[in-house]
Amino acid sequence: MKKELRLTVNGQPYELYVKPNSLLVEVLRNDLGLTGTKRGCESSSCGICTVILNGMAVKSCSMLALQADGAEVVTVEGLANGGKLHPLQKAFLDYGAYQCGFCTAGMLTSAKAFLDETPKPTEEQMREAIDGNICRCTGYNSIIRAMRAVVNGEYEETR
């Protein structure tokens, strides 16, 4: 039996009816068509389904959609606004912090949630911040450089 789910995604309030066994990632992708958020494993180990829920990075494949009732969710589609890319997105472009791009949404959301709460992190903290996200292409270091660039204010004018 479907149940009502009210949540806000990328600033847009939604009222839906979902099956209790639907995962948040499934509702985002299938019901809301936000396919930017991917899925990489069935064991909540790869982090590529990461979204920002009430300001926290969480794995949308490891929670029921109904557990997001009343929550504010931000997905990769919600990072840019008014035709402007988020500084992290610009930095990812300039520093080649992605290759196949399949883990990129999770990397960006993890990085954003972290930098929002820790604006001046150390290198170690930045590595910790994306330690739950697997990237098979880049070897991570370019992602750290991109985060560092944002922290250093290289993209401030667009903030």
Partner: protein
């Protein structure tokens, strides 16, 4: 594929306990669900009723009182504990442990109570809580009961939690002066599940500096989080030397009964326990000596 189930999201503990009582024959409690959903997805368990306690704000708190000690609601997330100023200040080892527990995403969503109830002997919080002589409170429709955390674990993924019961609070006694506590786990990949882990807390006598009291607890040393009591006995009341610590490592390793799996053989785990008990013991000792 996750089976269909009837979903309940009680708003109060009372409501939750009533539901647990009502569906005692076939329900599962979901807190964060990061462990539960994996086995549900594999079709290994198919509960008819899922009772979601994630929203019970009643059980999400950290309270500290110099006499009574620390009280943590079972649904407090790992991340909240990790970042709590009072815990950093007065229970540093807890915050250190949480900081190494899996990834930020997992810590943001997972709760300390959920972790304990999963009953995975590789879990990090259990040994640390055991080493701090922590207790916990279990509630049911018929009332509450308390027990030592070290008595909570029975076997692989099996805890003392009966049907109809809910873990509500964890209590950590105030750490007495001249006490040092430390936790270290060994793993090939950082922040991974512990191949083995060791928590030690040592209290030194104000005069003479001999070991007044101590606790040694092991992660993944056996089918359940365990205390290395014989190793403790060796050290209790004595002036702790490098030599004694080394010996304690040998004893703890012999006490332990780890298994062989794809990540390490039982023999290797026992080797690691020798080393870790020694190292963590040293660390705890030096912390105990710090004024």
């Amino acid at each position: 594929m996750i089976n269909d189930f009837e979903y309940f999201a009680p708003k109060t503990v009372k409501e939750a306990l009533t539901l647990l009582d009502k569906y005692r024959d076939d329900y599962k409690i979901i807190a964060g669900g990061q462990s539960l959903l994996i086995i549900m997805r594999q079709g290994l368990i198919k509960p008819e009723h899922l009772i979601d306690i994630k929203g019970l704000s009643e059980l999400n708190y950290i309270k500290f009182d110099a006499k009574k000690g620390l009280r943590v609601g079972a649904l407090t997330t790992h991340r909240t504990i990790e970042k709590s100023p009072i815990i950093k200040k007065s229970f540093g080892v807890l915050a250190e442990m949480e900081n190494r527990l899996a990834s930020i995403q997992t810590r943001n969503w997972g709760s300390i109570g959920g972790n304990l109830c999963h009953g995975d002997p590789a879990g990090d919080p259990a040994p640390v809580l055991i080493s701090l002589n922590s207790t916990l409170t279990i509630a049911s429709i018929n009332g509450e009961r308390n027990m030592l955390v070290e008595d909570f674990f029975l076997d692989y993924f099996e805890t003392a939690l009966e049907h109809g019961e809910l873990l509500t609070e964890i209590q950590v006694p105030t750490i007495s002066p001249n006490t040092g506590a430390a936790y270290t786990k060994f793993n090939v990949i950082e922040n991974d599940m512990a191949t083995v882990g060791v928590a030690v807390s040592i209290t030194l006598a104000p005069k003479g500096g001999h070991c007044k009291d101590l606790r040694i607890a092991l992660a993944n040393g056996a089918p359940r989080s365990m205390r290395a009591k014989q190793a403790e006995e060796l050290l209790r009341g004595k002036k702790i030397t490098d030599h004694l610590l080394k010996e304690a490592g040998e004893i703890a390793s012999a006490e332990a009964d780890p298994i062989s799996d794809i990540h390490a053989s039982a023999e290797y785990r026992q080797e690691l326990l020798k080393i870790l008990v020694n190292r963590v013991g040293k660390e705890a000792l030096s912390r105990a000596k710090k004024p």
